[in-house]
Each structure stands twice: as C-alpha cells, then as structure tokens.
C-alpha cells in the first residue's frame, strides 16, 4: 500500500525484478563458480585460542597437493595491516587487523597461516599438519572488563546539565543488543590472479562494491590503485558483512603474486561464523530528563560497544552512528553521549544491516516506553508530544534531519497494527511501538549514460548490487528520464576497470546516491540527444517533442534514438552526484503473545511504516522492508553469537546459531509515507534497513508490555521469558 504515489511513467511502479529469472534459472555466477587455468586453493590455519602468544609455527615439509604455506613472517614487506577508517571526531586506536597474525593472536578464528594447495580439500589436509605453539594469555570476553579502549567519542549539544537540574522526572534505563552473525547465504571469498607482464592484479571478490575493496587492497599491498582491478561477480547476500576487505582476500592476492598462480579462497560456513565480522554487541545506559507533562528536556547516554580484537576498516562506524542517533526522532534540545568502544578477544564487529541504527532505536525507544510507564502516560502519547515536526532539524548531536512526517508514520502504524488483541488462554499479550530515524546517503556516486547503436541505453553505475535489485530500479530511473522502455536500459557495474568513481553499496544509499547519479547522467544524455537531434532536424532543441518513439520536430520530421545513434555514435554523458546525509524514518508496531507455560514468544503481527522519500519501485521497497523485518525478528527470537568464558564461540554453526524460517514470519502490514528529500533529484532517501531497525525496538516494547513493564533484552528466548514470568508472576 503506497500513500501519495509520486510515481512517474516508469518510476513508482512495482516492476518485477528482472535479475530474478537469471538467478532462479541457475545462470548467475558467484565467486566459487569462477574457474581459472592453474587455479590453486587457499585454506587457513586459524587460532584455536581467543588470546595467546604465538611461540612457534612449524609448517609441513610435504603433503599431497601442497604448494605453499604462508605465515605472518612471509607477508612482511608484502602486506600491511588493514587500514582503519575513523568517523569524524572519534579517537581510534592504532590497532588494525593484521593480514596474518603476528606474535599474538587475539580471537579464536584469527588467521595464523595460509595453506595453498591444488584443491581446497588438500589445503585443509595440509593445514592440519601446520603446528602452531601457543602460550595462552587471559582472554577478555566481556567489554565491561576490558581495559583497552579502541574507540572513544564524545558528543554534546545544548544545556544538558541545566536541563537535568530543572527536570521534574529523570528516567534511567540500561539496554543491550547481542552480537549477531550476518550469515549471508553465500559466504565471503576472493579469486586473485596476477599478470606479471602488465603488473596487473585482478581480484574477484564476493563483496558489496569494487571501490572499498580496491582502496583497502591498495593500502594493504602498497600498490597503486591503477595496478589493481576488482571485479564483483553475482553476490549471494552481504547485509553489511562484505563491505570491508577480508584479510583472507588480501592473503589470496599476495599468494597469487608470490606463487604466480591464480588463487581462490572460497570461505566455508565455519570460517564465516568465526572470522567474518559480526554486528551489534552494544549496551547503553541512558537517562532522560522530562517535565511532569511529558516534555523531553535532555538525554544522557553512555554507549559501550564490544568491538572485538581489532579495528577493521569499518569497525568504528556502527557505534558512532548509534551515538549520533541517540536523540532518535524526538525534539530533545540537549544531549550528551559518551561512546566507549572496547577491545575484547572476539572477532571484530562491523556493519550489519542497520549498522548502529537498530541499536540507537532500541536504546531510545525502550527508554521512551519506560519513561511513559513512569509518568503514567500512554507511550504513544508521550511520543506524539515530542516528535520532531519541522525540517530541516539540527539534532543537538550534530546531524541535520532533512525531511519527514514522523507523526503521520506513527498514526499510520497504529492504524495498521490494530488494537492489542485478547490473548489466547494461557498466554499474555502485548503491543509495542517504536519510531526510528536513519542516516542514509551522503558522500558521492557517479554514473555514465551511453546511447548504443540500436537506440538502447547503457548505464555504467558506480554502485553495484548484492541482492538489492539495481538492474531493475536503476533501469527504471534511466528509462523515466529518457522516455524509453526500461527493458532498453542495460546496467553495467561491478568492475573497477569500467566503473565510474564512487564509494559503494551500504547504508541504504544506493538509490539516493547511485540512483541520483544515474538520473543526472540520463538527464545529461537526454540533453545531448536533444541538441544533436535539433541540429539534424534543423529545429531549436527546446521545440522538439520527445516520446517513446523518439524526438519530433514541429514540421513532422522525427528521429528515433536508433536513428540518432547511427549518425551520432558517441553520445554519452557522465554525472557525479554528491550530497549531505539524508534521513529516512518510520514507525513500527508489533503485537505479541507469550505462552505462560513455556515462555515461547509469538509475534502475531507487525505493522511497518517507512518514509524513504520517493519510492522508485514499491515492490522492491516492500521486499527490503520484509527482509529487514525477518532479520529483526530473528534478532528478537533466536539469534545471538555466544562466547564462553574462554572466548570460544559456542554458536559457530547452524546447529547452534538459529535463523528464522518462513514458518515464524507473522503477517506484516507495510506502508510507505513518501516525504521527498530536498537533497537529491529523486527525492529518495533509503529503505534497505528500516525493517531491521524498527522491528527489535517494537517487539522489545511489546514484550515489556506483555510482562507488565518488566524489561528484557533480545533474544527473547522461551527460557528467558519463562524465567521472568516466574519471578514476577503473570499479570
């Protein structure tokens, strides 16, 4: 259901994904499908301990099919640790992830040695023969016990202390979200091939985009970016976990160069669980100062992030985003947020769908419900009294919300959710709502639009897909502007040798940034077509009319795009689009029931209202919402990476790490409010993460409602809920 459709002829229409037929037929080509002559295979020897000193590594003399064993020492002078990207204003420690471990290993699963062999199975056989002597060191598992700060950030705006001194009520709460694994269906991987004659390193990566892989690989290898070509094949999901270069991919590159053979690293599921960066793992202590009438005056928060053993390129980004969004969608005049990113002996964290936004929404929205309970107010009413209602809105923490209609999202979500139902016998019921505001967009992307000989159009886009549906939405954007059938628009992306410059696919930014660049490139091409046609038709460019058949002069003479291309074969246009951040928003509501005898949580309905600005394709946008909700519900019901006191991951396979199935998906009522952003030509914000952001907070509030105000943190397992009901008794 779309409110206020702002669609054009092609955009705003629910076109089916044109990439699906190819994928469903099995014609897609993933990383592990890539075969090159002479391909060798990589397996890793990984640390079994969470924290230990490496005293000696003995490599086997021989093993069937063994080509080479590389250790950290072999990489000296060939590869540097991965670069660290610190958010603005944050202090980041110089503790990068080594490509292969040095003298100390700092998490179970850290790559210590790389084994290259004629097949992956033979590489694993040889890896078993590598002997690593470790002297155990004490592991730090809980961030609260860590002495090492990897990231520090402090943000403040407004008169915080004055507001707290003047407050009628101060409500406090402590909330946390566990570490989660992204578990994309396709794991990570890389195939590296080195052409010594041309000194060109080509690397295929299962990754989100070419740009960040290329930039980080150039830094690790100390090579000029021009001497590296990154190709992104079809990618079977990432959810943020393939945004940074994998250290193992850098090893594949070095191995290919050292051995003069192409090398493949196709990660397996076990490696993915122990070594791919994880998401969440954040806790916040939050205080809210209010008047007795329910006006929010100020917020103070201390956010502690379990960052793991090292700073990967993007490890510092999610907690910084959380900190910056701690005033949520509320007009709170003053705020002070302290962020501590602590080192623990676990795999590093990084972006996972939402990447700091679900944490902020969960912390803020839980606190708002707890505050309403304290004030004796309806939690919806407390929200209504404090929502940001005029834009642009500068938050006290320093970001400027560009656009939105938060009130409308809230009212629509309530309407779609309906009232809290009477529970079945033996169950208690709850309803919860949550709001969110999401930073999206920002930085720049670019595109090139080219008129082909047959009158079709090729778009070279700097952002590439890993499941989002760029081929469909970007074709719609270009087709709308060029008045052609979207089937006549061909998309090209994912090859750094061809791609125009850009940043990448993450943070719900592809349509807002990449799509806007496509729109501008298409506009530029349209202008060139019009000028050229005007010369040929001996008319003024502005006098030409343009429809699906081509360009027409006032005298009845016409030119189709194919005819134009035949005489003007070089028509193309480049565009670069840059903008500040845009801020999507939304309201979610969840209805839940809890079985009193077992503690099982049933989520019976989710209402999702997202304002991602102008929607290019409502079908794909709704798909994003549903997928995000599924992951958000998984986080509520079953998902959690668990480490024992020795720092060993005890949920490192699908036998222990449970994922939601279709059977657990409740009915979802999804709707869009379309408040266009003024910051880009499409009016588009971002929709990739809303479901994952809004759902945990809404379900958390619904659970607290069902439990009579008792606050628990996800995952809401049967045992946890049952225990809570035993302690407090059902209402």
């Amino acid at each position: 259901m779309t409110t206020e459709a702002k669609g054009g002829r092609v955009t705003g229409r629910p076109l089916a994904r044109r990439e699906d037929a190819r994928i469903l037929d099995g014609r897609s080509r993933y990383l592990d499908d890539i075969e090159l002559p002479g391909l060798a295979h990589l397996a890793f020897v990984r640390s079994p301990d969470a924290h230990a000193r490496v005293s000696e590594i003995r490599v086997p003399e021989d093993s069937p099919g063994l080509i080479a064993v590389l250790t950290g020492r072999d990489l000296e002078g060939r590869a540097r640790p991965l670069p660290i990207q610190a958010p603005e204003g944050a202090e980041a420690a110089d503790e990068p992830h080594p490509v292969l471990a040095g003298e100390v290993v700092r998490y179970a699963g850290e790559p210590v040695a790389a084994v290259v062999a004629e097949s992956r199975a033979l590489a694993e056989d040889a890896a078993e023969l590598v002997e690593v002597d470790l002297e155990p060191l004490d592991p730090v598992v809980e961030p609260s016990r860590s002495q090492v700060e990897l990231v520090r950030w402090h943000g403040e705006g407004g008169d915080v202390d004055g507001a707290f001194a003047a407050a009628d009520e101060i409500v406090t709460g402590a909330y946390s979200l566990p570490r989660l694994a992204a578990v994309p269906m396709e794991t990570r991987g890389a195939v590296a091939s080195y052409d010594s004659a041309g000194d060109l390193l080509t690397i295929w990566c299962s990754a989100q985009d070419t740009h960040r892989q290329l930039k980080q690989l150039a830094a690790v290898l100390g090579r000029a970016p021009e001497s590296i070509r990154v190709v992104i094949p079809d990618v079977g999901g990432a959810f943020g976990s393939k945004g940074s270069l994998a250290p193992e991919a850098a090893v594949a590159a070095v191995a290919a160069m050292v051995l003069s053979r192409p090398v493949k690293w196709a990660e397996d599921r076990l490696e993915n669980f122990v070594a791919a960066y994880q998401g969440r793992g954040m806790r916040a202590d939050v205080e809210l100062a209010l008047t007795s009438g329910g006006r929010m005056l100020a917020l103070r928060a201390k956010v502690v992030a379990d960052l793991g053993a090292y700073l990967l390129p993007t490890t510092a980004i999610p907690p910084h985003t959380t900190a910056m969004l701690m005033t949520g969608c509320y007009d709170i005049p003053a705020a002070r947020v302290e962020l501590w990113g602590m080192r623990t002996n676990k795999v590093p964290t990084g972006p996972y769908r939402g990447a700091g936004r679900p944490e902020a929404a969960y912390f803020v929205e839980s606190l708002v419900d707890d505050a309403a309970r304290r004030l004796g107010l309806d939690p919806v009413e407390l929200r209504r009294r404090n929502l940001v209602s005029s834009f642009p809105h500068p938050s006290p923490l320093g970001w400027t919300y560009d656009s939105g209609d938060y009130r409308r999202c809230l009212e629509l979500a309530l309407e779609l959710a309906g009232p809290k139902p009477d529970p079945e016998a033996g169950r208690v019921a709850g309803r919860g709502v949550s709001m969110y505001v999401e930073r999206a967009g920002g930085q720049f992307e670019s595109a090139r639009a080219k008129l082909e000989r047959d009158g079709s159009v090729t778009i070279l886009s700097s952002t590439s897909p890993h499941g989002q549906g760029h081929e469909t939405t970007f074709a719609q954007i270009a087709a709308e502007r060029l008045q052609i059938d979207p089937a006549r628009v061909k998309l090209s992306f994912g090859d750094s040798a061809l791609s125009p410059p850009g940043i990448g696919t993450f943070a719900s930014r592809s349509v807002a940034m990449g799509g806007s660049a496509v729109a501008l490139a298409a506009d530029g091409l349209a202008g060139r077509c019009r000028e050229t046609a005007a010369e040929l038709l001996e008319a003024a460019a502005d006098d030409l009319s343009w429809d699906e058949r081509g360009l027409h002069g006032a005298d009845g003479r016409s030119l189709s795009l194919a005819e134009l291309a035949a005489v003007a074969p070089e028509l193309e246009s480049d565009a670069r689009f840059e903008s500040d951040l845009v801020f999507s928003s939304g309201a979610y509501a969840a209805l839940v029931e809890i079985e009193q005898t077992t503690g099982r949580l049933h989520v019976s309905r989710v209402a999702a209202v997202d304002d991602a600005g102008t929607i290019v394709n409502p079908l794909l946008a709704e798909g994003q919402v549903l997928g995000g909700i599924a992951q958000g519900l998984g986080e509520c019901l079953v998902e959690e990476m668990i480490y024992d006191e020795e720092g060993q991951p005890t949920s490192a396979s699908f036998a222990d790490y449970s994922l939601l199935t279709a059977a657990e998906m409740p009915p979802v009522a999804a709707a869009f409010v379309e408040t266009p952003t003024p910051l880009n030509p499409l009016g588009a914000k971002g929709i990739g993460e809303g479901g994952a952001i809004g759902t945990p907070a809404a379900v958390g509030n619904a659970v607290a409602d069902a439990l009579g105000g008792r606050r628990l943190d996800p995952p809401f397992t049967g045992e946890k809920l049952w225990q809570a009901m035993q302690e407090s008794g059902p209402r």
Binding site: A121, T597, T598, L637, L660, E664, T717, E719, W722, Q723
Partner: protein, 265 residues
C-alpha cells in the same frame, strides 16, 4: 569444512556391506547427520560404506498387524505413507518434525536410529511405540527392544560390525490415541524437548520424552497415571520430574500435557 581423506565403498548387498564394516568404517545412509560430522572433521572414518544402493532395505510394509520398515526407508516415504498415517499416526506426526523437507527426502529411518541424536524425533517415537530393531552382523542376527537400543548421545548398542536392517512396530492397542509435542527454537530446528504419548483403553499407556536425558526416556510413573485416567497436567508433572532445570521441567510438563491431551482427543 572438507572431510579428512577416506576410502569409499559402495555396497551392493547387505552381505557385502557387512563384510566392509568394522572399527574404522562408518555406514553412510542419507548422510544428513554423518556428512556434517565428516565436514567438521569430527568423524574421521578410514572408510565409508555407502548403503544407498541397498534397495533391499528400502521398504515399508504391513506384515500382519505389524509395520516393517527397512533401515534405508527415507523419512519422506514414511511421511507420505497412508498406511503409517492410518495405523501409526504418532509416527506420521513425529516424522514431519524431522528437519525440513529436503532433509527428510534423503534422511533414513535407520540412520536416525543409528545416529542416536539426543534431540531426534524418530528414536523418541520408536521408544514410545515399543519398536524392535533388527540388527545383523557378518555372523549373527539379533533383535533389540527400542528402550534398550540407546546408550547415550550418538551411542547405541550397535557393534562396529553390525548394521541396523529393519525397524518393526507392533500395532497400537485397540482404541488407542496418540499425541506428539515438541519445543524447538524454530520450525525444523533441533528439539529442545519433546514428548510422545499413547493412551488406550484398559490402562494401556506410554509416555516418552526427549530432553530429560541424552537418550529418549520412558516415564513409568507418568504412564501409570495416564493409564489411571489422571488429568493431563498431572501426567505432565510426573514426567517432568525426570529432568533437571526449572525451565526444562516446565517445558516437559507442558509438552507431555499437550501430547496426552492430543492422545485423548
């Protein structure tokens, strides 16, 4: 996650399979449990004996009042059997809870028993139904009662040179009702706890649970209470005493209650 090297033999007959089995060999049936163990290198047999060509062990038939299932019968075959649905509804109900459809189309009845996962539905069902397992070795054949089969997690009385060849189910008592209930994190996931109940006239009753121990257990006190027409929650409470941990006891009490209520309805 590639298995350590192993020899691979395909057996064409049961005799040939028996000749290949031994201390360092593992029989391969549907592979739904063994292959992951191989890939994790937790199982490292020197030789795999592939049973999948033993069509002689792939059958499901009525023999008088009894049901006989060859060990290689796929779980999906049991799931789709009108005979099982009509005469052994507890088995029909339980088999649907084994993993997902793709798993059941490969997974076998015998494999589930021989693997003896503490959370598996079929061993629980067979214990509740007083199944008998027919075992063969190169030199002998023997029959083991279901409740004597399981020794611990992934451990049964099967010797290294023995093969489970048949599962035999007696008929349900006249007028019996049955019920199965389990608690798993998600649909198709491993069960945290489960219960199977049989209630028949003249005090004939069976109650079996998984999740109380590392093997499926019969609950004699609960069975006596069920046979004496005790209320379902009371039967559940008696069965729950077998388990440790407050939540686990609560789960078992509830699951047995549900299974008993289904059996009586």
């Amino acid at each position: 996650m590639k298995p350590a090297p192993f020899e691979y033999s395909v057996a064409a007959t049961v005799e040939e399979a028996l000749g290949l089995l031994g201390e360092d060999s593992r029989p391969l049936a549907g592979g739904q449990s063994l292959v992951p163990l191989l890939n994790f290198r937790l199982a490292r047999p020197e030789r795999l004996v592939d049973l999948n060509r033993l069509h002689e062990l792939d059958y499901l038939r009525q023999d008088g009042e009894r049901l006989r299932m060859g060990a290689l019968t796929r779980q999906a075959t049991v799931e789709r059997s009108p005979l099982v649905a009509a005469r052994w509804p507890l088995l029909a109900e339980a088999v649907r809870l084994v993993g997902h459809p793709a798993i059941r189309s490969r997974g076998t009845v015998g494999g589930s028993v021989a693997h003896a996962d503490p959370t598996a539905e079929l061993p629980l069902t067979f214990v509740a139904l007083d199944a008998r397992f027919h075992l063969r070795s190169p030199t002998a054949a023997r029959t083991v009662e279901a409740r004597d089969m399981f020794l611990g997690p992934l451990t049964t009385v099967l010797g290294a040179d023995e093969l489970l060849v048949e599962v035999e189910l007696p008929p349900l008592p006249e007028g019996a009702g049955t019920g199965f209930a389990e608690f798993a994190r998600t649909h198709g996931d491993f069960a945290v706890a489960g219960a199977a109940a049989v209630a028949a006239p003249a005090g004939r009753a069976a109650v079996a649970v998984l999740g109380a121990d590392s093997i499926p257990l019969r609950c004699e006190e609960a069975e006596r209470a069920l046979g004496q027409e005790a209320p379902a929650p009371e039967v559940g409470e008696l069965a729950a005493q077998l388990a440790d941990g407050a939540h686990r006891r609560a789960l078992l009490a509830e699951l047995v209650r549900r299974a008993v209520e289904r059996a009586r309805s």
